[in-house]
Amino acid sequence: MTDEDRIVLDNVSKFYGEVLGVNRVCLSIPPGITSLVGPNGAGKTTLLNLICGLLQPTKGSVRVLGLTVDDPDLMYSKLGYCSQFDAFPKGLTGLELIYGYLRVYGYGDQEAQKMAWSALETVNLTDAANRKVQAYSKGMRQRVKLAQAISHRPQILILDEPLNGLDPMARAEVIALFQKLAADGAHVLISSHILHEVDMISDRVILINNGYVVAEGNIHGVRDEMEEHPMQIMVRCDRPAAVAAKAFEQDHAVEVKVHEDGQGLMIRTRNADQFYLMLNRIVLDCNLTVEAVSPADDDVYSVYQYLIGTDGGRL
């Protein structure tokens, strides 16, 4: 995969006077869903705005599919952005908002009409198309922003807190839309506070804190690399004591807790792969009945807690 297929940030720093926005960020983001996670003030919006070209880096360079903001006609025809700001040009209906900007993009009347209706249909907002945006509910405004961002069918969709204000049904629909866009080969870059949804939909995450990228990549890969935090694995089985005894024979086991119901255990290990091999052997040798084995801290939330923790700020 070449840089022409990726969003590439090369040693990017952004300072607001003496205040740090982001510092020495190097990223190469492939297509798929990438989530940007971090506490308030971490630099998430700054990073998204740098990628969009709304901000210029103090140092370093940003290339989006090989393009820079010096070619706005090319770059912005491939990029859609849904900002976190609940603000719209005054006096416009949902349809006028999307149609009007599509005309600015250079589309003709008929084509812009068609694309605007299609975008509104995608976010289930056709019934309210001719109502003023100011009269929309919070969830509808969020959806019309999304419709505006996808109306020109961009290859890159950048979404700052796109799930805010959406009810559970709308959230599920929007997430399905992101997954469809990503499956079609688009880059979907999401900044979100809702970690369990990030975990559910993301192909990879970027964790950011105090302006620095603290981790990036596939969440399981990131978790595997965190050797200072032993992996927690939950096992539900009929003889947890036997598993615990065997586990303590291994030097990678740090802690084992047998569940109060006697039907399972939680193990903290420095080498999850060795533990799984050991568990296989026990199953074969001792005829152990295993109901479930699952990592307990192999998700965005746990990684976030380990790397950023509660000191990092409020989510």
Binding site: Y16, N40, G41, A42, G43, K44, T45, T46, N49, C52, G53, L54, L55, Q56, P72, D73, L74, M75, Y76, S77, L79, G80, Y81, S83, Q84, F85, A87, F88, P89, K90, G91, L92, G100, Y101, R103, V104, Y105, G106, Q148, D160, S191
Partner: protein
């Protein structure tokens, strides 16, 4: 493979027509904002204030002595136009319209809709400038025409018919309307630039107003470094100079108009340079 001259011409033409399409789309989006909204109350007031003054003069029962001759009415209009309309209404009206073209969108957090469109920022500046120009010309050329008609209204329909059909009325009307339009073009460009370079445009606008106001007291060469000098030079009825005024030869329209437009283009280019550097910093995470 070599590219022929006609290919270059075709490419340039298609690029120009695409930019024109974008300018028109921007103007379409801006039009509503330019004419409707609470923010525009001041602009409506500035445009309608001289009209209201002359409506009172037109409907008030004045005896012929108080009313004066039609020739004196021409001077009444020249005073109203050159002192009130040009130096006050159009100046502050353009300040309100043009300084807010970008500032308002930053304050309302909507500028990113434009900045994230595949439109060159220079094209955006031109689109916004023309939308401001349409609004200001509608307000102030309309106000100027209404004022001129109202000045002659008390002399009756017959006189007005003669003056506008056979006399100098139509020429005066067209000239004053053109001067008002030129004022919108010039002040519009200046205030677009001021709105982009200064966080608070009141201070530079105040300095500019001061310069334009004391202009008639300055040496000739300094008088020519002002918008109002060229506008007054184009007016058909000159105002009598005050006792302190330094008399300066009016500049010919053949020099004023192209110079004015040239300067406007330069100012718009300077605005475009600033917009190229513009960053959206209206929010943080």
């Amino acid at each position: 493979m070599t590219t022929s001259f006609s290919d270059h011409v075709n490419h340039a033409w298609s690029l120009l027509s695409f930019w024109l399409k974008q300018v028109l789309a921007i103007m379409r989006l801006e039009t509503k904002k330019s004419f409707v909204g609470r923010r525009l109350i001041a602009v409506y007031f500035l445009a309608l204030a001289p009209v209201a003054l002359l409506v009172i003069r037109a409907v008030a029962p004045l005896d012929p002595h108080e009313l004066g001759t039609p020739g004196e009415a021409g001077m009444v209009f020249a005073v109203v136009f050159q002192t009130f309309v040009l130096r006050f209404s159009i100046f502050f009206g353009c300040m309100s319209i043009f300084t807010n073209l970008f500032r308002r969108e930053v304050m309302e957090r909507t500028l990113h809709f434009y900045l994230l469109s595949p439109v060159k920022r220079e094209v955006l500046v031109v689109g916004k400038y023309f939308s401001g120009l349409i609004a200001s010309i509608t307000f102030f050329v309309g106000s100027t025409i209404a004022c001129l008609l109202l000045v002659y209204l008390p002399y009756g329909g017959k006189y007005m018919e003669e003056f506008f059909m056979e006399g100098a009325g139509t020429e005066h009307l067209v000239t004053y309307a053109s001067v008002a339009a030129m004022a919108c073009i010039g002040y519009g460009a200046v205030f677009l630039l001021v709105g982009l370079y200064f966080r608070n445009p009141i201070v530079p606008a105040g300095l500019l107003l001061g310069w334009e106001t004391i202009n008639f007291l300055l040496p000739s060469f300094l008088q020519k470094i002002s918008v109002v000098h060229y506008l007054q030079s184009m007016c058909p009825v000159p105002l009598p100079p005050g006792p302190l005024a330094i008399i300066t030869e009016p500049t010919s329209a053949w020099v004023s108009v192209p110079g004015f437009i040239g300067l406007t283009i330069l100012v718009i280019l300077a605005s475009a340079m600033q917009v190229r550097r513009l960053e959206v910093t209206y929010g943080t995470d």
